[in-house]
Point group: C2
Chain length 342, copies 2
């Protein structure tokens, strides 16, 4: 096989040309005749030579690393959530296509002592993707260091940071419209109280759909909770005490719906016979629930690819970059938590 690692000079010698010629060919740049180009290519292949990326890194002052970070100081533990799993897979496949590594990064402590800061200082990262949120302090530091970044699944309507977002108001409206179409009249809403902007969008989608279909809305049917069983169990308790009994519950996220279903099951309420449940996200656990959850699909994978694309535009210094890209919402995935009451 391969003996010692070959260098660009070895190839140059074998091809009877200079190293620069080889470099030009390697990078597919103009500057050599077609004849020499194909000759050099032949030599490269027959020796299956691959340039050492480390030297390119040094001279180009690039790392070819994209960091994907879950900032635990800025929200939930995003890596724990199947939602971002899909987004990461999307980013991963696009990174492979453009020749970058996708490097995982958790921020658990202060930014100052994070591996992200270290990577920035050491030129060990060319761009970073934040899951869901970025703290202003971190954004400032990165801006100062001229480090491109993008927030994936940003809920801030106008943070001004480059972001990939999704119209959760629209997705919510789709879910609620579906509940209306299937004959539900008293549709409850459980929003996420810990992410304000997200609460607002989903609530607006919910209200919008009700209004559009002329369904009267009842304030006691809208509530909010954090994304954990206890909080959602309490929310269900409040809803069930309402004068108007809900015949359906719309949850702003799959995980919330799953906790809601646990709560309903404990109370002996059958889904969907007594209460229908519908949500937004389509994360893996929603296929594993009993019964499987009807939900609105979100193109999480696409968010990942789009984030990498935006980063590439920034790294390559393109102009006219669209710094806020919205991914269209998906359709209702009809499973078994919604019954037709009409």
């Amino acid at each position: 096989m391969q003996k010692e690692r070959m260098t660009i000079h070895d190839i140059a010698k074998l091809a009877g040309v200079s190293a620069s010629a080889v470099s030009i060919v390697l990078n597919d740049r103009p500057g050599v005749s077609d004849a020499t180009r194909s000759h050099i290519k032949k030599i490269i292949r027959s020796n299956n030579y691959t340039p050492n990326l480390n030297s390119r890194k040094l001279i180009l002052n690039k790392s070819f690393n994209i960091f994907i970070v879950a900032d635990h100081r800025a929200g939930e533990g995003a890596f724990d959530d199947m939602f971002y799993n899909s987004a990461i897979m999307g980013a991963l496949s696009r990174c492979g296509e453009v020749g970058y590594n996708l490097v995982l990064c958790d921020i658990l402590q202060e930014y100052a002592s994070s591996t992200l800061k270290q990577a920035v200082d050491q030129h060990n990262v060319d761009g970073v993707i934040f899951l869901q949120n970025i703290r202003a302090e971190v954004a400032e530091e990165l801006t100062r260091a001229a480090m491109p970044f993008v927030v994936l699944d940003s809920h801030k309507q106008k943070s001004g940071y480059p972001c990939i977002c999704c119209d959760y108001a629209d997705a919510s409206a789709k879910a609620v419209s579906y509940l209306i179409k299937t004959g539900h009249k008293q549709i409850a809403f459980i929003g996420n109280s810990s992410v304000h902007e997200f609460y607002i969008s989903t609530f607006n989608g919910y209200m919008g759909a009700l209004e559009k279909h002329g369904i009267p809305c009842c304030p006691s049917l809208a509530t909010s909770a954090e994304v954990n069983f206890e909080s959602i169990n309490q929310a269900i308790g409040r809803l069930l005490k309402s004068e108007i009994k809900p015949d359906a519950i719309f949850c702003a996220a799959d995980l919330m719906a799953i906790f809601a279903m646990q709560s309903l099951a404990m109370r002996g309420i059958s889904i969907p016979e007594q209460i229908s449940v519908c949500a937004v996200d389509n994360i893996l656990p929603s296929q594993l629930s009993v019964p499987p959850l009807t939900t609105v699909d979100i193109a999480k994978n696409r968010m990942g690819t789009e984030a990498v694309d935006m980063l590439m535009d920034m790294i390559e210094g393109k102009n006219d970059i669209n710094f806020r890209r919205c991914i269209p919402t998906g359709e209702v995935l009809v499973r078994n938590t919604v019954i037709n009451r009409s």
Copy 2:
């Protein structure tokens, strides 16, 4: 703040010493007097200088990258499974401690056209962690390239590859013993038919526990399935047609148990009143099922840290490396799918 990037020479000049002295200090090696050392350190700090990792990469011929790979040709899509999520988090935190990047890598096609091979060729990886399995072909290629690797959660008893493993026979025995202790007499077993070695270990654990407690075993109560709803639904069908009715089902993995619970629910069988369910893994969805699943904990996080540790030993060329490290199994996490029948 920082003007232009400083180099080791700038620091040397400021400190009135040579670049080599600074290098020695940066790497904490002997060769300078304590006086100059602390003086240089002071200069470094006050300018908050950080060496450029790219130049170290070049001269040391290292990438400081650890790849963590899910080979879709060698098994299931490991990144989809919450099991490996936890292992990855463990690997991530240890990587941070030792100054390596953790780089995600999917193998969807042939190894020859994978980003892993590319990384190996380009000196863009120093060690690789395989999730669950490695194909012999890939192991050969890596060995030839002198690239350290370790298989995390290897099920092969004696593959000879460096690996982190877990005693699933022991974990299974714990689960089954717990079912016995809670008064179950007809305990069914659903093993994973697609990973032979895993099937064997869990089956042995199951049988061992039955024998140890003098419970007669009934062949018609042991079956196997693939990890998807259809296959497990069929397995449940077979079990329910058995002459001896099971009062509990032990599943070799949480995800299998979750599908089993879906199947049982569809058949109107209540858990745990009619049939108890117990499994092994403790992945996130097991907390989200109705009712929450009783299962044996596996220290997935620890598997990740241990994998990185082993890789570091290999990279640093230690001798007397233990190439097969078993992580002790955890305890039964008592949740709500097992009822006391005694």
